[in-house]
Symmetry: C2
Subunit: 453 residues, 2 copies
């Protein structure tokens, strides 16, 4: 079967599904039931007749039909016998949620566990992990109730996370920000490692960007080799945390990441922003930006941030300037940044953006838009979508503010990369530029049939 | 009358209150009507009999009673005659909302305006500003509809903003994050300047922190003198944007800010975080932090950030360690960070926090809490409030994630400084530490009557 079974199992056994609603095993089962999982679901709990209306088995060996994936949510001391049971039942793919090995100082037990996994040739995800979320198949082993931790919609970002908590936070934030996900893997401390899944996602057509959170590399050589292979085909963005304290070792990591064409993030916000700009962003033909805004101060902030990272300001062409002088009210100063003034309506934005998109001196647009302005209507969302889709030229939105602005920003995010602050936007734009200038491997052009005619 | 009139006027005239709901003057009037302003409100519009049910006057001179504050929301070309009108009506305090002078290249007109203001001895706020928001008196001249831009509750942060758009964004964000405000002043480009209001807020008992956004200092000497005087009494945090591009000039600014004891922020998020940690934060007796968490990865991120800014990890005392060994489940590793593990409930947090608060080796606590965990209940909010109020020791919360986590974070923010990311939290904690170690001026101890007895 192999690793794909984790994402598309035809039958699942949940071992240790407790009756108590605040226990991890109970939440996992509840999530599967709410999900209306279409495969066969078996519940193993020797201490209860039934859990959440589901018949239980005393042991996984008692399940009468074959099982493809086992999810184990019991305390750590039971793991050994449960893995033996799985093995006799011919289950190779197993997710072990609970902690309690080297993370709690039990190094000896951990060695014993590694030996057992090797001997029985098991594919174990965990222990100390969240397991899997797959937005296509619907598999969701996260022990967080959905009313407390939202799940993202379908998308093209896949997330490989050593830490369960960071994984949960990323998932939650992606859902909140209307950002799509393909697959999520939280792999914990012992069994399968990041490289196994990087290879798998490299071959997955639905994954456009691979996003990594790494604390300790289990096998550095294997990891770099996997990334080198995969990053030829799709971007990899990563945060390496729990960093060694010396500058030398930090630089060694930096160098190795660069060699493997991994875009390195410094904070979780950067990781999130880099992943989504790589998913949606277009390749710019240069680094000259046109800034358009309905608030002067926010444009000044953007300019400061552009200066910090070395991105340039475009100079509008003569034709564009003449056109804008004709079309704009006299109090709009035709320059860069182009401040359309606080009373700018949708139409004024449309004119400014259209003419900047047509200007060859402009490589990309940063549009800082305050939808809070009374002059802006809800039609601005459709307008921006249309403008973004009308061209190959990159355009990014900055939509700063509170609740209303955030709601509009999420709507924009459906169509184009949108940020809530100048600093976040510019750092992400710079990361995208770095990807294309340093890491991107040009694909050999496929011979077009039409051009041969 | 003086500058206080801007915040507590007994009578107001809105000049240029349009009938069109998307026009600035209309929104301002609507906001005043919704607010149920208790003073006398007069509407000036020569082109309409009534606006939003309010009788109009053709000119401010026709208003039969005295007017303390005029709010002018007309195009720039009418400003001169309107200021003359105000002067004959003996109105000294005037807010001019609209732009259209040096911001649009009209330098000559701007000089003329300055002369008129000087000649008539007017206190003009603007042009090109949002005016005033005062959470105590309810005065609100922001031309943003409340359904699009929320207003913060009462608080102790006052905000002085050269840019209207940045001001609006800060106001909106403060409201969203459940952060309180005292007064907001957006002062624009020509009339009154930042120093005038810094002095005023220095004397204002309700203002605990002054927060500044500055593009161009109108009078650098006056500004630094004002800040030096005021920062002896209360913290000032500022962002200087539109920075000159050379490193030398940046360093001159840095030095001058330091001399005036101004805490400098680099981004809007920092400005916001520094202001609220200064408002609520307690003074730590040292820089040794205890990190407590229910997610290992997020604790690792916090450690990386602490390392970046040079904050240290505390070592728990022998007694604390023994106590925690007795009270905690065996799989909890008693150390720093203290990872209570994903299944930690409210009670486990209580025990860990209480014993760290009592430990003399711990100067402050960073509690990273994922309320998404099924084991955490809503009682955690009351619990944290109680713990925070039980001691002088600082405690900070990191509550990362999506919508549910944000909601809980805002509830926490009611009581103690709470952040959504490790990077933001640690930067703010470092800023607070910097304030107390470098800028804070010890108040002379008042002779206590009880001790004299």
């Amino acid at each position: 079967m192999g690793l794909k079974t984790f994402f598309e199992p035809k039958s699942i056994a949940i071992v240790g599904a407790s009756r108590h609603p605040r226990k991890i095993g109970n939440v996992i089962l509840r999530n599967f039931l709410e999900l209306k999982y279409s495969g066969n679901l078996y519940v193993v709990n020797p201490n209860a007749e039934e859990v959440l209306g589901q018949k239980t088995y005393n042991s996984i060996k008692e399940v009468p039909e074959p099982v493809e994936l086992a999810i184990i949510a019991t305390p750590s001391e039971k793991i050994f016998s449960l893995l033996e049971d799985c093995s006799s039942k011919k289950i190779k793919e197993i997710i072990v949620i609970g902690a309690g090995f080297s993370d709690s100082g039990n190094v000896k037990q951990e060695e014993k566990l590694k030996e057992l996994i090797k001997k029985k040739k098991l594919n174990v995800l965990g222990p100390n992990c969240l397991g899997i979320y797959d937005s296509y198949s619907g598999i969701d082993t996260l022990f967080f109730p959905r009313e407390k931790l939202d799940r993202p919609k379908k998308g093209a970002i896949s997330l490989v996370c050593q830490s369960g908590s960071i994984g949960a936070i990323m998932i939650d934030k992606m859902a909140q920000e209307n950002c799509g996900i393909r697959r999520f893997i939280s792999y914990g401390t012992i069994g399968l490692d990041e490289s196994d899944f990087i290879e798998l996602l490299g071959k997955d057509d639905h994954t456009k960007v691979i996003c990594l959170y790494i604390e300790n590399l289990k096998d550095g050589r294997k990891f770099l080799d996997a990334c080198k292979r995969v990053s030829k085909k799709k971007p990899i963005v990563a945060i390496k945390t729990g960093l060694p304290k010396t500058k030398e070792i930090k630089n060694i990591y930096k160098g190795a990441f660069k060699q493997a064409r991994i875009l390195q993030a410094e904070t979780l916000d950067e990781l999130f922003d880099y992943a989504r700009i790589l998913e949606k962003g277009k390749r710019a033909s240069g680094n000259k930006m046109q800034v358009i805004t309905n608030g002067g101060g926010i444009a000044t902030r953007i300019l400061d941030e552009l200066d910090k990272v070395g991105l340039k300001l475009a100079e509008l062409g003569k034709q564009t300037i003449e056109h804008l002088h004709r079309e704009m009210p006299s109090f709009v100063n035709i320059s860069n940044p182009l401040n359309l003034v606080a009373d700018a309506n949708d139409e004024r934005f449309k004119i400014a953006i259209e003419s900047s998109l047509q200007d060859k001196g402009v490589d990309a647009l940063i549009v800082s838009l305050m939808p809070q302005s009374p002059a802006i209507t809800i039609n601005i969302i459709k307008l921006m979508k249309g403008l973004y889709e009308s061209t190959e030229k990159p355009m990014y939105l900055v939509v700063p503010g509170g609740s209303f602005a955030d709601t509009i920003k999420r709507e924009f995010e459906e169509h184009l990369p949108s940020f809530s602050s100048p600093a976040n936007a510019v750092k992400a734009i710079k990361a995208l530029e770095k990807y294309y200038s340093s890491f991107y491997v040009e694909k050999p052009k496929a011979k077009s049939k039409t051009s041969q005619k």
